[in-house]
């Protein structure tokens, strides 16, 4: 099997909450399972490698929305081709919003999105800053959200149901369209939620011609993640590991 190539898109601009760490998480889990893995930071068309196995995009500051959108625009044809071919994509916060139809700002102006996925971001009355717990096909997802917009127009293709927190609004969270996953769970969502990480990694390893089996090292580390997320869940008085 060839080495895995994991793209980290605009890792300086879109890493406000440590979201770029998700690429590091995928690469480490791959290495622990015996595969070689390379993280390729992408800032322009010239950085794109010929073969890609997984793509990670993080969240940035609102003042950088236009700059980030304009840097993403030349990449979107390649992203579309890879998404169509089944390359797993994890997009967090503004990185996800910029790949949608667009972002409505509180003053009524709209930042046109790049149209890779359905839906749009619209302002929330109050910023959502708290723990976010979601029931999903990849297990219970636990993390932190810090955003000022909900997500509408893709209600049939959500990542999961909100158990605690805001998410997209309307008790749903995230977006799942083919191999594209969008979420408000910021920071190291894949470290804290290994079920989601391994869903992405399995798809990536399969594309590279291998079979992914979780390593013992990953199982040990996942026990730490479970303890960390159980602390959050019990503080919210939700049933642990529901």
């Amino acid at each position: 099997m060839r080495a895995l190539t994991i793209l980290s898109v605009l890792p300086e601009l879109l890493d406000t909450n440590g979201d770029a760490a998700n690429a590091r998480v995928l690469a480490q889990r791959a290495r622990w399972a015996g595969f070689e893995a390379t993280i390729v930071p992408v800032r322009s068309l010239d950085d794109l490698p010929s073969k890609v196995d997984a793509i990670v995009i993080g969240s940035g500051n609102d003042s950088d929305l236009l700059e980030a959108r304009d840097l993403l625009a030349p990449l979107v044809n390649a992203l579309r081709a890879w998404t169509t071919a089944g390359v797993p994509v994890l997009a967090v916060g503004t990185g996800w919003e910029l790949l949608s139809w667009g972002i409505e700002l509180p003053d009524g102006t709209v930042v046109e999105g790049l149209g890779l996925v359905a839906g749009r971001a619209v302002p929330l009355a109050v910023r959502a800053t708290d723990d976010l717990v979601v029931e999903s096909p990849f297990g219970r997802l636990v993390g932190f959200e810090n955003h000022a917009r909900s997500y509408v127009g893709a209600e049939a293709s959500v990542l999961g149901r909100v158990l605690s927190g805001m998410g997209n609004g309307a008790k749903t969270e995230g977006l799942r369209m083919g191999s594209f996953l969008g979420t408000h769970l910021h920071g190291p969502v894949l470290a804290r939620n290994p079920g989601l990480a391994d869903h992405i990694l399995s798809a990536a390893v399969t594309r590279a011609g291998g079979v992914y089996v979780r390593s013992e090292r990953a199982a040990d580390v996942d026990a730490i993640a479970e303890a960390a997320t159980d602390v959050v869940v019990s503080a919210l008085s939700l049933t642990a590991d529901s």
Binding site: N17, A21, T129
Partner: protein, 418 residues
């Protein structure tokens, strides 16, 4: 030899409340309700004016160094000694000093201000000098991104009547300086390209300026080695002793020297300022070495991702006894993930209420974590019971909350320096 003070007269009944609250904010709260203009009128009344130090990181150390430099020039300085960087605490600090006539002894006031609270109360203040340290991603739950921090610092800087002192390497601050509409002139400090190159991950600013300040542009840091540093000022070179290892302390000293120069004008003497900033004792919890239960232990405080990274990078390699404790003050542990902790190699115990979260990050950075013990007291007891390490010194890396709990558990003086 304490003068009879307002606090005793006006707020005698709340003194008990002060100790119960574990801080100095209660009498201040009372006076702010009784006489809301008190704070501003006293602070604006110093004959040589008011100096404000603000920014994301390094405020406490910079303020201390600046006060030392001013006092070495014979200036009588009033400053907020304790963790009084919010308005109630500030009023309490003033009440300790002010006489019944409402006058306070001192030529000049130097205040450390939290950028958030500073913007709230600064509309009534008339500082002569405002010194800004840097803009980092800090306290993310309150200031959700660096843009908000810059906007708050700009509100403080626009109040300056004399000089705004800025870090020329921090692009957020150089941008702020270009947009200032107050009457103040700009003074700068910065590091050389060589100093920056020795820190491949940068100095931790949200945005680093693309160009370095020329030597004629202000106070320039030309070298840092361990606890020594050199600065170039008006064509002459001066040596500094730092309170602890790390380039960020050298930059704090630079900020203090540039601010002293702005505050003192013709009275400023570079040699006096440099020797004064070299005398300040190590700040609690930031490279502080203490002896506890017969062992020497180094305390390292991490307050934000940038200081975490700088501290990890400045630790001696190959330490074999490290404890990391992250507490409930880190509401969202995500924000430490931009930090590369791999240089730690091995951590004996991860502790604090966020023990599992920090252990998870360490594990993904390839650091071996021997034990996760959320009970900080137990972790400290077991860590200190181990014989002295073969390499280096017992090292405890902690967040501010874990630092307070550690000091309390070990019976050490509480950190009054915030």
């Amino acid at each position: 030899m304490h003068r009879r003070s307002w606090s005793a007269e006006l707020c005698g009944s709340s003194r008990a409340g002060e100790s119960r609250a574990g801080g100095s904010a209660v009498p201040g709260l009372v006076v702010n309700k009784i006489a809301p203009g008190f704070l501003a009128s006293v602070l604006n009344g110093f004959p040589d004016g008011l100096v404000i130090v603000s920014g994301s990181s390094g405020k406490s150390t910079t303020t201390k160094m600046l006060v030392a430099a001013l006092r070495a020039h014979g200036v009588a300085v009033f400053t907020n000694q304790s963790t009084a960087n919010i308005s109630q605490g500030l009023t309490s600090a003033l009440l300790e000093e002010v006489s019944l006539s409402g006058r306070i002894h001192g030529d000049m006031a130097v205040l450390e201000m939290d950028e958030g609270h500073g913007a709230l109360i600064s509309a009534t203040l008339n500082p002569r000098v405002v010194a800004l340290t840097n803009v980092m991603v800090d306290q993310i739950d309150r200031f959700h991104d660096s843009d908000m921090v810059v906007a708050m610092l700009a509100r403080i800087a626009n109040r300056a009547s004399g000089t705004v002192v800025i870090n020329a390497d921090d692009a957020s601050l150089t941008g702020l300086a270009e947009r200032l509409d107050g009457p103040a002139v700009i003074a700068r400090y910065g590091v050389t390209a060589e100093v920056l190159a020795e820190n491949p991950r940068g100095l931790g600013y949200s945005l680093t300026a693309s160009e370095r300040m020329p030597a004629a542009g202000g106070v320039l840091l030309t070298s840092v080695s361990g606890r020594s540093a050199s600065v170039l000022l008006e064509g002459a070179s001066f040596d500094l002793e730092l309170p602890a290892r790390g380039v960020h302390y050298a930059v704090d000293a630079l900020t203090a020297i540039a601010a002293a120069r702005a505050a003192l004008g013709d009275r400023f003497d570079a040699a006096t300022a440099c020797s004064a900033v070299s005398t300040i004792p190590p700040v609690f919890g930031r490279g502080e070495i203490v002896t506890v239960r017969g062992h020497r232990v180094e305390f390292v405080l991490v307050q934000n991702p940038a200081s975490f990274q700088l501290n990890v990078d400045s630790l001696e390699p190959g330490l074999d006894q490290v404890l990391v404790a992250i507490g409930s003050d880190v509401r969202d542990p995500s924000y430490f993930w931009p930090v590369d902790t791999s240089a730690l190699g091995r951590v004996l115990i991860a502790s604090g209420s966020k023990a599992h979260d920090i252990a998870l990050q360490l594990a993904y950075d390839g650091v071996i974590v021997d034990r996760i013990e959320p009970d900080l007291g137990r972790a400290l007891d077991d860590f200190l019971a181990l014989p002295d390490p073969v390499h280096g010194i017992k090292t405890i890396i902690f967040s501010a909350d874990s630092m307070r709990r550690t000091r309390a558990h070990l019976g050490l003086a509480s950190n009054r320096e915030g």
